[in-house]
Amino acid sequence: MVKEQIKTENLNLWFGSNHVLKDVNLTIYEKKITAMIGPSGCGKSTLLRCFNRMNDLIDSTKIKGQVLLHDEDIYAPSAQVTQIRTRIGMVFQKPNPFPKSIYNNVAYGLAIQGKHSKHEISQRVEQSLKDAWLWDEVKDRLHESAFSLSGGQQQRLCIARALANNPEVLLLDEPTSALDPQSTAKIEELCVNLKNQVTILIVTHNIAQAGRISDYTAFMYLGELVEFGPSDQLFTVPKDSRTEAYLTGAFG
């Protein structure tokens, strides 16, 4: 029995007068990989950013509807945005490590909480780097700049950094679009491996990638959630003609 992790109810979002998300009702299942696909500008990244309230950073954002993390509305006035963001981690399109050492990058999330001992932090840093398959490559140079790593390593460092907070959900916003095929393959494998410990939501332009790694796929078009379902079904027998058109390359 799969459990629900995140659920949106009639989620609408505007940037100023631009209606970006229209009545999105989507359920994300626990410890599964859900891929969000669709042509550029369809709102998939915006939807992803609703889940950790990153859209709050844009002044003109207006949101209606609910986003429930288990049964808790993350947009409720009593919700604490910093706490939500430690429970729902995020990895961005371009690797964006801080201009700090490898160690301090991973330790950052715990250090700002200010309630972990040094020993605890160093253990979690090691564990997170291991979980992100980076430990063996960096264990001898933890105090070098994160920018001494290759692009693929930097992206895995960003994953380790997000994992250090022990999140329930990991949001990945086109995490491999800036990487070479080999690094991409490694991160895809890593995602499949990580779903034992965390729910993964991945936005991707790469339909093949969605097919390779995801359990569920959501297809979005012009701000609407057109179709959602188990990936094997959605990719083989799409119900909506727009999904089929996109998958066969008619647009996008």
């Binding site: 963001r85 981690g89 950052y108 700002i112 997000a162």
Partner: protein, 284 residues
């Protein structure tokens, strides 16, 4: 093709010529000061007070005075400037208010330095009863340095890639933690650049300290922030305009200028070294 090549060569030649003239002015300028001032330099010159109505002796009290004026004014202006920049960059609302503050800052940057002197005298010396003192002069110089430091800090903070801020917030950091732990450390080397420029300006200014801090002649060092001080630029001014022994005073003035330049360069060099070290550890 030939026409384009010729145009290209001509362009480079003109740029080279401009560079040559710029460098020439600087070299002639430095050579002149060095040549005129070198003869009076001695250990005694930098370690003893002036004697015989400024016609002999050294400039030690002025070196110390300028050193303290510079250090205290930067120590006041740097935190104030950084805090202002943080407000402008991260919290500044509403927009119109930020615009007014920025116009005020830029206007402040264009005010002639003698006006700062008058302002300092009216506010710090008279109204706040600090008298003519190291403190009053330092505060006046701090006001003068403030616009440069604010602008440098603001530019530096705006130059920090947006991705760093997003990454920090996405890890559950508050806005304050993001500023203190990510944005400021990343921007700091460039803030230092603005500070280096300010150091040169502050150490060399005469007008702002004329009514607020400087004294022509003092055999002893300042004992507290409320003492008057001698200062190098003001000492040069005094040597060139006061007294009756021009033949003896002019070389001392050039020697003082040389020391002032050396002092500014050393303070800048230290700041540049610090910046270099930070940049190396926080490379991105």
């Amino acid at each position: 093709m030939i026409v384009r090549k010729t145009k290209n060569s001509l362009g480079i030649a003109i740029l080279g010529l401009m560079l040559f003239f710029t460098a020439l002015f600087l070299i002639v300028f430095l050579a002149r000061i060095f040549h005129m001032g070198y003869d009076v330099l001695s250990w005694e010159f930098i370690s003893s007070p002036p004697r015989e109505a400024m016609t002999a002796g050294g400039i030690y009290p002025a070196i110390i005075g300028t050193f303290w004026l510079t250090v205290v004014s930067i120590a006041v202006a740097l935190p104030l400037g950084i805090l202002t920049a943080i407000y402008l960059v991260s919290y500044g609302k509403p927009r119109w208010f930020v615009q007014i503050v920025k116009i005020a800052i830029n206007t402040l940057a264009g005010v002639p330095s003698i006006i700062y002197g008058l302002f300092g005298m009216a506010i710090f010396v008279n109204l706040m009863k600090m008298d003519v003192s190291l403190l009053a002069g330092s505060l006046t110089l701090a006001v003068l340095a403030l616009p440069v430091i604010i602008n440098a800090a603001e530019e530096a903070m705006r130059g920090v890639p947006h991705e760093f801020r997003e990454a920090s917030l996405a890890l559950g950091a508050t806005e304050r933690q993001t500023i203190l732990r990510v944005i400021l450390p990343t921007a700091f080397p460039n803030i230092l650049t603005g500070t280096i420029i300010s150091i040169g300006r502050v150490a060399g200014e005469t007008a702002p300290i004329m009514f607020t801090a400087a004294t022509f002649y003092s055999r002893r060092l300042p004992q507290s922030p409320f003492d008057e001080v001698m200062a190098l630029p003001y000492h040069i001014y005094a040597l060139m305009t006061e007294g009756t022994h021009a033949a003896k005073q002019v070389p001392i003035a050039y020697g003082t200028a040389l020391v002032l330049m050396f002092l500014v360069l050393s303070i800048s060099a230290i700041a540049i070294a610090i910046r270099y070290k930070i940049r190396k550890t926080r490379k991105w």
